[in-house]
C-alpha cells in the first residue's frame, strides 16, 4: 500500500468482504460522500482503488446489495482499508447461481429456488436427491425404494413425458450430468434396483443447490431443460481467508423397518388352511394351537441395520488461490439381510490466479460406490413366471413363506423342505429358503467414477472469457449369482453373471460474458458460447449356469456348463449447442432476460437434429418505484413473467433408425429386428409460461414467493403400437400433447433473528394438474405388468385403469341382477364389480380410471432453531391426491394352499360371518384386471428429519470447535396406504425394498 501524490490526488485502496464468511463482495460500491467525485467498484477479490482530490479526511460509503451499508472515515491512506459488511437478511439480497453464471436475485426474471448447505447437511441423506425432499415448492421427490444407495424419482412441476425421461437435468459445478437410466445397467439382469447416479456426490460437499423451474431460467439448457434443472455448487475455500478450516464428522446410526405388514402366524395360517383348503399339513386342532407364532419370515429376513460415516474436509485460501478438499467413507447396512451401500468419495475444488486476470481451476470427484441389493426374477409376464405371480424378489418370497416352515433344521443347517411350495420355487423335495437366498445370493452394483472439470478464465476489462473441459467417466460392474439352492438358481442348478459398462461423457464449453454498468442506470450482461457433449457407453455381460462348485460364485463363472449368449454393445451420442443470453436492468427496477439455445442432437434423424429454444423473462421491482416510498411494512415486491420453449431429448440412442438385436439360434448367429426407422422423430418440446410474485414483509419477517405456470409439451415421444408390416410391434413416435398447469407458494419466516437466538421456518405448497390433451390417432395405450395403467386423452399421465370394486355378494342377495363374470353368475362370497357399460357382464370394457400417480398437491415444512449452541431442525414432506397400485397387497390377499397371506384375510367372507372386502377364500386365480381395492391412496405426511445438536461453548481461543448431534429420519408417516410405504416411484408397489426409520448420532470437530 502506498500513497501516490499526483496533482494532490490521493489513492485509497481497500478490500470489502462479508463479515461472516470472509468472501470478497464483488461489485460492492465505494463512494465518497463528500465532494462530487465518482466512486468505484470492488473487483473479483473484493479489492478497490479510489483516487480522490478531496483532502482527507474523507467519508466513504460502502454498499452492497443485501448488506448493511457502512461508512468509513479515511484519515490516512497508508494502509488498505478493511471493510466488513454484515448481511442483511433479505431473500432478494442473494446472488444466485444460474445456468452459466450468477445473478442478483433482485434481477432474476425466472423462478429459482435455493437450498443452502445448512439444510442439505441436516438431512443426513447419503445422496443429494434425498436431501431435497420437502424443501422446494413444486419439487417432488419419491424414493424408488428403501434400499441404501437407491435413487429417487424427482419431478419438477409434474411430468411432461411418457417415454422420454421426466427427470430434471443436473449441472454439477458446470458439468451437465444427466441420470440416464440405461447407463445404470450392464445387461446382466437378475439385480433388483440400481445405484443412484447421484451417489457420486457427497451431499456434505455441496455449498448450495439451485432449482431452476421456469423457462426463463431453464431455456439456457434448451433441449434438456424441459424437466427443470438442478444446479449443484460444491464447497470452495473463501478468497482471502488464509486460515485453513478442517472439519471432521463421524456419524453412527441404526435403522429398522418403519412399518411391518401383519401376516398370519403359524396357528392362524394352519387354521386358515384347515378351514378353507385341504389341510396339507394334516394338523389337528391341538397341533394348530400348539404351533403358536411359528416362524416370522418377515422378521427373519429383516435386521437392525448399522450405518456409519467419516467425513473430512479442508478448505482455505492463499494469496493467489483457494481450495477445498474432502474425503468421506459411508458404510450403510440395509435392513434386509446382506444388503447395503458403501462409498469412498474424494472431492477437490481448487482455483488459482495464475496472472492478473487469468484464473485456472479444477473440480474433481473420484470415488467408488458399492450397493448390495436383492436378486430378482425376470419381469416377464408368462404364467410360469414367479414375477407374474407377484413374487418379485426373495424379500417378497419371505412374506409368502408359510409360517409353519422353519428357517433352520434342528442341526442348525438351512431348511430346504417346504411341502407347501409346489409351484415356482421347488424341485422335487427341494424348496427355496428366502433367508438362505438373501445370505448367499449376490446382487451388487459397483461403480468407480470420476467427475472432473478443468477451466480457465481470462478477463479483459468487462469481458470474461472462459473455457471448460470436463470428463465424467464411470465404470459400472454388476455381479449376480444365485446358487443351486436359491430360488432363482433352482431350475438351472445355479445361475450367475457379471457385466461391465464403461461410460465416458466429455464436455467442452467456451463462453464469453460481457458485463457493464453505467451510472447505476443501466446494467447489462451478455453471454455467448458454444458447448459440446459427447457420450460413449460400452457394455459387456456374460451369464452361465449349472455349476459344479459355487464357492467362488461370480468369480468362477467358467465353471458353468450352460452359457448364455454374451451381450456386448456400444452407443454413442453427441450434443452440440450454441448458447446466448442477455440480462438487462434499468434503474434497478426493470429487468429483462432473453435466452436462446440451438441444440444439435445425434439422437434424432438428420432432418430434425437442430432444435431452437428461445425464452424471454421480465421482472419489475415494484418496491423501488417512487410511488412505493410511503408504503410501510413491505420490504420488497417483485413481479416476474416469462415465456419460452424448451425440449427433451432424453430417449435411447438410435431410436430414429432401424436396428437389430443379435443372438444365437440353433448354434448360429441370429438377428431380430428391434426398431424400425422413423425419419420424422424429433424433439419433444415444451412451451411454458410463468407469472411470479416475490414479496418481503416486516423487515424480512416474512418472505413469500408465488408462481403460476402453464406448460404444454408437444410432439410427445411415445411408444405406440404399429402394424406388423413394419417388422416390429411398436415404435417411438412424436404423438400427442401433455399439459401441466399449477401454482406454487413458498413462505419463509425469520421468526427470531438475534445474535444468540435464531428461529426460521419455511413452508411450501404446489398444486399441479397434469393432463394428456392430445394423443393424435393413437387410442388408449395400456401399460404395466398387470395392465394397470393407461394413457388416455383427458386423463393424467400415470392414470390407473381397472374395475370398480362394489363389495362381496352376500347370502340371500338377488344374484340374477348382478353382471356375470367370465360367463358365470356370481354366487355368495364372490367379488362384485361395477358394470360400467351396462351390458350385464364384467369384462375389460368395464374398467375405469381409478386415479393416478400424479399428486394433486405436494408440500413441505421445515424449521431451524438455534440458541446459544443448541440447535434443532425439523423437516416434514407430504403429498396429497396421488394413488399407488398395491400389487404386493393384492398378492398377499390372494388365498391358496401354498403361501402366507395378510392378517386381513381373516376377514374374508364366510357364510357365517359375512364380510364385504375380501371374497370367500379359494384357490381361484385373480381376475384378469386389477380393481379399485388395490389402487390405494398414496397421500402421506412424513417427518423426514429431526435433528438436535449442541455446540460446546468453548472460549474463542480454543483451537477446536465441537458439536454433538442426534438425528431421527423417517420418524413417522401419516398415510392411509396399506403397503409398507406410500413412496414408490413408478406407481406400482410390487414389493420394493421397504423404507426404514433411522436414528443416528454424531460428532463434528472443526479446527
Amino acid at each position: 500500500m502506498s500513497i501516490v501524490w499526483v496533482s494532490a490526488q490521493t489513492t485509497i485502496t481497500g478490500r470489502v468482504t462479508d463479515a461472516r464468511t470472509g468472501d470478497p463482495l464483488i461489485g460492492a460500491t465505494v463512494v465518497p460522500t463528500t465532494g462530487n467525485e465518482l466512486g468505484t467498484v470492488a473487483d473479483l477479490d473484493g479489492n478497490f482503488t479510489l483516487k480522490t482530490k478531496v483532502q482527507l479526511p474523507l467519508t466513504l460509503s460502502v454498499q452492497f446489495v443485501g448488506y448493511r451499508s457502512q461508512e468509513v472515515d479515511v484519515y490516512e491512506a497508508s494502509e488498505p482499508i478493511e471493510v466488513q459488511l454484515t448481511e442483511n437478511l433479505n431473500k432478494l439480497s442473494e446472488v444466485v447461481v444460474v445456468g452459466y453464471g450468477t445473478q442478483k436475485r433482485t434481477q432474476l426474471t425466472g423462478s429459482v429456488a435455493t437450498v443452502k448447505a445448512e439444510i442439505i447437511g441436516q438431512s443426513q441423506s447419503a445422496t443429494l436427491d434425498g436431501a431435497l425432499s420437502g424443501q422446494v415448492a413444486g419439487l417432488h421427490v419419491t424414493a424408488s425404494s428403501g434400499q441404501p444407495g437407491a435413487d429417487s424419482q424427482i419431478r419438477i412441476r409434474g411430468g411432461n413425458s411418457v417415454n422420454a425421461s421426466n427427470e430434471p437435468l443436473y449441472v454439477i459445478d458446470g458439468f451437465i450430468y444427466f441420470k440416464d437410466a440405461s447407463q445404470g445397467s450392464t445387461g446382466v439382469g437378475g439385480i433388483e434396483g440400481s445405484l443412484n447416479p447421484l451417489a457420486t456426490i457427497n451431499p456434505n460437499d455441496i455449498e448450495s443447490i439451485e432449482v431452476l423451474k421456469d423457462v426463463s431460467a431453464t431455456a439456457i439448457y434448451g433441449s434438456r431443460g424441459a424437466n427443470g434443472v438442478i444446479l449443484v455448487t460444491t464447497k470452495q475455500g473463501k478468497a482471502g481467508d488464509k486460515t485453513s478450516h478442517i472439519n471432521y464428522t463421524y456419524n453412527i446410526g441404526a435403522s429398522r423397518i418403519s412399518k411391518r405388514l401383519e401376516l398370519l402366524n403359524a396357528s392362524e395360517w394352519a387354521q386358515f388352511q384347515k378351514d378353507n383348503f385341504s389341510n396339507k399339513g394334516g394338523y389337528t386342532d391341538e397341533q394348530i394351537a400348539a404351533l403358536g407364532n411359528g416362524t416370522d419370515w418377515q422378521d427373519a429376513v429383516l435386521r437392525t441395520a448399522i450405518q456409519q460415516s467419516h467425513e473430512l474436509s479442508i478448505t482455505g485460501a492463499g494469496e493467489k488461490n483457494r481450495y477445498a478438499f474432502s474425503a468421506s467413507h459411508t458404510n450403510q447396512d440395509g435392513i434386509i439381510l446382506n444388503s447395503g451401500f458403501q462409498r469412498y468419495n474424494f472431492h477437490t475444488n481448487v482455483e488459482w490466479e495464475l496472472k492478473t486476470n487469468l484464473r485456472f481451476g479444477v473440480n474433481a470427484t473420484y470415488g467408488r460406490s458399492r450397493q448390495q441389493g436383492l436378486t430378482t426374477t425376470e419381469s416377464q409376464v408368462y404364467n410360469s413366471s414367479p414375477f407374474s405371480a407377484g413374487i418379485t424378489n426373495s424379500f417378497v418370497y419371505a412374506l409368502l413363506m408359510p409360517p409353519v416352515i422353519e428357517v433352520y433344521k434342528a442341526d442348525g443347517s438351512f431348511n430346504f423342505s417346504n411341502p407347501y411350495e409346489y409351484a415356482y420355487f421347488a424341485i422335487g423335495d427341494h424348496a427355496a429358503n428366502p433367508v438362505y437366498d438373501l445370505r448367499e445370493s449376490v446382487a451388487e452394483n459397483v461403480n468407480n467414477y470420476l467427475l472432473s472439470n478443468v477451466w480457465t478464465s481470462y478477463r479483459i476489462g468487462n469481458l470474461l472469457l472462459k473455457a471448460t473441459v470436463g470428463l465424467n467417466s464411470e465404470k459400472l460392474t454388476q455381479n449376480y449369482f444365485s446358487g443351486a439352492y436359491t430360488s432363482l438358481g433352482l431350475a438351472t442348478q445355479g445361475i450367475g453373471g457379471t457385466g461391465n459398462r464403461q461410460t465416458d461423457v466429455w464436455q467442452q464449453e467456451y463462453t464469453a460474458t460481457y458485463s457493464k454498468e453505467t451510472d447505476g442506470v443501466h446494467e447489462f450482461d451478455a453471454l455467448a458460447g458454444f458447448t459440446r457433449q459427447t457420450t460413449t457407453s460400452t457394455f459387456s455381460s456374460i451369464r452361465t449356469n449349472h455349476y459344479t462348485n459355487e464357492s467362488l460364485k461370480q468369480y468362477n463363472l467358467g465353471d458353468g456348463s450352460g452359457i448364455y449368449t454374451p451381450q456386448t454393445g456400444i452407443s454413442e451420442s453427441s450434443l452440440n449447442s450454441l448458447i446466448a443470453r442477455v440480462n438487462y436492468t434499468f434503474l434497478g427496477r426493470y429487468n429483462a432476460t432473453a435466452t436462446f439455445r440451438a441444440d444439435n442432437s445425434s439422437r434424432f434423424s438428420k432432418n430434425h437434429r437442430w432444435g431452437y429454444f428461445p425464452s424471454l423473462g421480465l421482472s419489475w421491482n415494484i418496491d423501488k418505484e417512487d410511488f412505493f416510498d410511503g408504503v410501510q411494512n413491505i420490504d420488497y415486491l417483485k413481479l416476474r413473467v416469462s415465456a419460452g420453449l424448451v425440449g427433451n431429448q432424453e430417449i435411447a440412442d438410435y431410436a430414429f433408425t432401424t436396428s437389430y438385436s443379435t443372438g444365437s439360434y440353433g448354434g448360429s448367429s441370429s438377428y431380430a429386428k428391434k426398431n424400425t426407422a422413423n425419419d420424422n422423430l424429433k424433439w419433444e418440446s415444451t412451451v411454458s409460461y410463468n407469472v411470479g410474485i416475490d414479496l418481503g414483509l416486516n423487515q424480512n419477517f416474512l418472505n413469500f414467493v408465488f408462481d403460476a405456470y402453464y406448460k404444454k409439451t408437444s410432439d410427445l415421444l411415445l411408444v405406440v403400437p404399429v402394424g406388423f408390416s413394419s417388422g416390429v410391434t411398436q415404435q417411438l413416435q412424436n404423438v400427442g400433447n401433455v399439459v401441466n398447469k399449477g401454482v406454487e407458494l413458498s413462505v419463509n419466516a425469520n421468526i427470531i433473528q438475534r445474535k444468540k437466538i435464531q428461529w426460521t421456518a419455511g413452508a411450501n405448497l404446489a398444486i399441479n394438474r397434469n393432463t394428456i390433451s392430445d394423443m393424435g390417432a393413437t387410442n388408449d395405450v395400456i401399460q404395466g405388468s398387470d395392465k394397470q395403467q393407461i394413457l388416455r386423452k383427458g386423463e393424467p399421465l400415470g392414470a390407473f385403469y381397472g374395475l370398480r370394486f362394489e363389495g362381496i355378494v352376500q347370502t340371500g342377495e338377488d344374484v340374477s341382477k348382478l353382471p356375470t363374470i367370465n360367463g358365470q353368475t356370481p354366487k355368495p362370497g364372490d367379488l362384485k364389480y361395477a358394470d360400467t357399460d351396462g351390458n350385464g357382464r364384467i369384462d375389460g370394457n368395464d374398467r375405469v380410471i381409478l386415479g393416478s400417480t400424479q399428486p394433486a398437491a405436494v408440500y413441505g415444512f421445515s424449521s431451524q432453531f438455534n440458541y446459544r449452541g443448541f440447535d434443532a431442525s425439523v423437516t416434514f414432506a407430504g403429498s396429497y391426491g396421488n394413488k399407488l397400485y398395491n400389487a404386493l397387497g393384492r398378492r398377499l390377499e390372494l388365498t391358496g394352499d401354498s403361501y402366507n397371506v395378510l392378517a386381513t384375510v381373516k376377514e374374508s367372507w364366510t357364510p357365517e360371518r359375512g364380510g364385504n372386502t375380501l371374497p370367500l377364500a379359494s384357490n381361484a386365480r385373480p381376475f384378469s384386471y386389477i380393481d379399485s381395492r388395490y389402487v390405494q391412496s398414496a397421500s402421506y405426511l412424513k417427518l423426514r428429519n429431526l435433528t438436535i445438536g449442541y455446540r460446546l461453548q468453548l472460549p474463542k481461543s480454543s483451537p477446536v470447535g465441537v458439536r454433538f448431534y442426534a438425528t431421527g429420519s423417517n420418524l413417522f408417516t401419516v398415510t392411509r396406504y396399506k403397503g409398507y410405504d406410500p413412496e414408490v416411484s413408478g406407481g406400482t408397489d410390487s414389493g420394493v425394498y421397504p423404507a426404514s426409520r433411522t436414528f443416528s448420532a454424531g460428532i463434528n470437530l472443526t479446527l
Binding site: M1, G14, A19, R20, P57, Q70, E71, V72, D73, V74, Y75, E76, A77, S78, E79, I81, E82, V83, Q84, L85, T86, L89, E319, Q699, Q753, R754, K755, K956
Partner: protein
C-alpha cells in the same frame, strides 16, 4: 582508463564495506507505541550503533527481510508490554452527558455493539443517539475490544475510521455525540501525564479504588491500578514483536528490549508484563 576503473572499484568496495557494517532494520509500528519504540531504538543504538532503524507505515510486506512489526496479541510474537483500552469521548460532550451513570461491562457491550440482526427493531434510546467510532485497521485496538466482549468487529455500531487509532480521538473531538475507545498512550499526554486536551474518560462501574483512580485522571495511577487489578470493563492486551525468529540481528534487538527496555514502558503509557510472562519470553 585503468585508473578510473580502479577508482570506481575502490568506491564501490568502500560502499560495500559500509553496508556490511551498518545493517538496516525496518520497523512497522502503530502510532500508539511509536514514541516508545523510538525511545527503545535510541537507547539500543547507544550500544549498537551499527544497526540502522527505519520506521515504515503498515505491516511488513511478503519477502521483506530484517523487519519487525509491532502487533497486538500475536501468538507467534514476542510479548514485551501490555496496553489498556478505555472508552472516551470529547470533554463535556453530549454523549457523556447522555450516558450519565457509570458503565458496566454489560452496558458497554450494549452501547458499542449491535444487539441483533434487526438493529432497528428495538433501538436502545442511548445507543441510537450516540455515534460509535471504531478503527478498521488490523492493528486497531477495536479488535481487542470486540474480542474482549466476545463480539465480532463487524458488529460494532456506528462509523469506521481507517488509519491509525489516533484518528479516533480526532473523530470524537469533532462530534459531540461521538464516543470511541483507545489506548492509554493515545488518551493521555505523555509529558503532562494528564488526559489529552478535549478528551474525557467515560465513567466505568469499577470498584471504589478503580472509580477514584479513573476520576483522578492520572496516567501513572491508572497504570499502577491496571497492573495489579483486572476489570471486565477494561480490556488489556499484549503488544508483541512479530519477526523472523531465526534472524540473529532481530533477536538481539528484541532480547535487548526484554532485558533493558521495560523500564520505559510506563513513561510511554504501557503496562509491564507480569513477571511470569516476561520470563517466558
Amino acid at each position: 582508463m585503468k585508473k578510473i576503473i580502479y577508482t570506481i572499484a575502490i568506491v564501490l568496495g568502500l560502499q560495500g564495506s559500509v553496508q556490511a557494517q551498518n545493517q538496516q532494520v525496518t520497523l512497522h509500528v502503530p502510532n500508539s507505541v511509536k514514541p516508545l519504540v523510538e525511545k527503545l531504538v535510541a537507547e539500543y543504538n547507544k550500544t549498537n550503533a551499527e544497526v540502522d532503524f527505519l520506521f515504515k507505515a503498515g505491516k511488513a510486506q511478503a519477502g521483506e527481510t530484517n523487519s519487525i512489526t509491532v502487533v497486538n496479541d500475536n501468538p507467534d510474537g514476542v510479548k514485551f508490554a501490555r496496553y489498556a483500552v478505555l472508552p472516551v469521548s470529547a470533554r463535556q460532550s453530549d454523549a457523556a452527558e447522555l450516558i450519565g451513570r457509570r458503565l458496566n461491562a454489560k452496558r458497554l457491550k450494549t452501547l458499542f455493539f449491535v444487539e441483533d440482526e434487526f438493529e432497528d427493531d428495538e433501538p436502545d434510546a442511548t445507543a441510537q443517539k450516540i455515534h460509535i467510532y471504531t478503527g478498521t485497521s488490523q492493528q486497531s485496538v477495536s479488535r481487542l475490544y470486540a474480542e474482549h466482549f466476545d463480539e465480532a468487529v463487524a458488529d460494532y455500531r456506528g462509523k469506521k475510521i481507517s488509519g491509525d487509532d489516533s484518528y479516533l480521538n480526532v473523530a470524537v473531538s469533532r462530534d459531540p455525540w461521538g464516543i470511541t475507545i483507545n489506548t492509554l498512550s493515545n488518551i493521555f499526554d505523555l509529558e503532562s501525564r494528564q488526559l489529552k486536551q478535549d478528551i474525557a474518560l467515560l465513567p466505568l462501574d469499577l470498584d471504589k479504588q478503580g472509580k477514584q483512580v479513573l476520576a483522578d485522571g492520572q496516567l501513572d495511577e491508572i497504570i499502577t491500578l491496571l497492573e495489579h487489578a483486572r476489570y471486565s470493563e477494561i480490556p488489556v492486551g499484549n503488544a508483541a514483536f512479530a519477526y523472523d525468529h531465526s534472524n540473529a540481528l532481530l533477536n538481539d534487538f528484541v532480547q535487548w528490549v526484554l532485558a533493558n527496555g521495560t523500564q520505559y514502558l510506563h513513561q510511554y503509557g504501557l503496562l509491564k508484563l507480569p513477571s511470569k510472562d516476561l520470563a517466558q519470553e
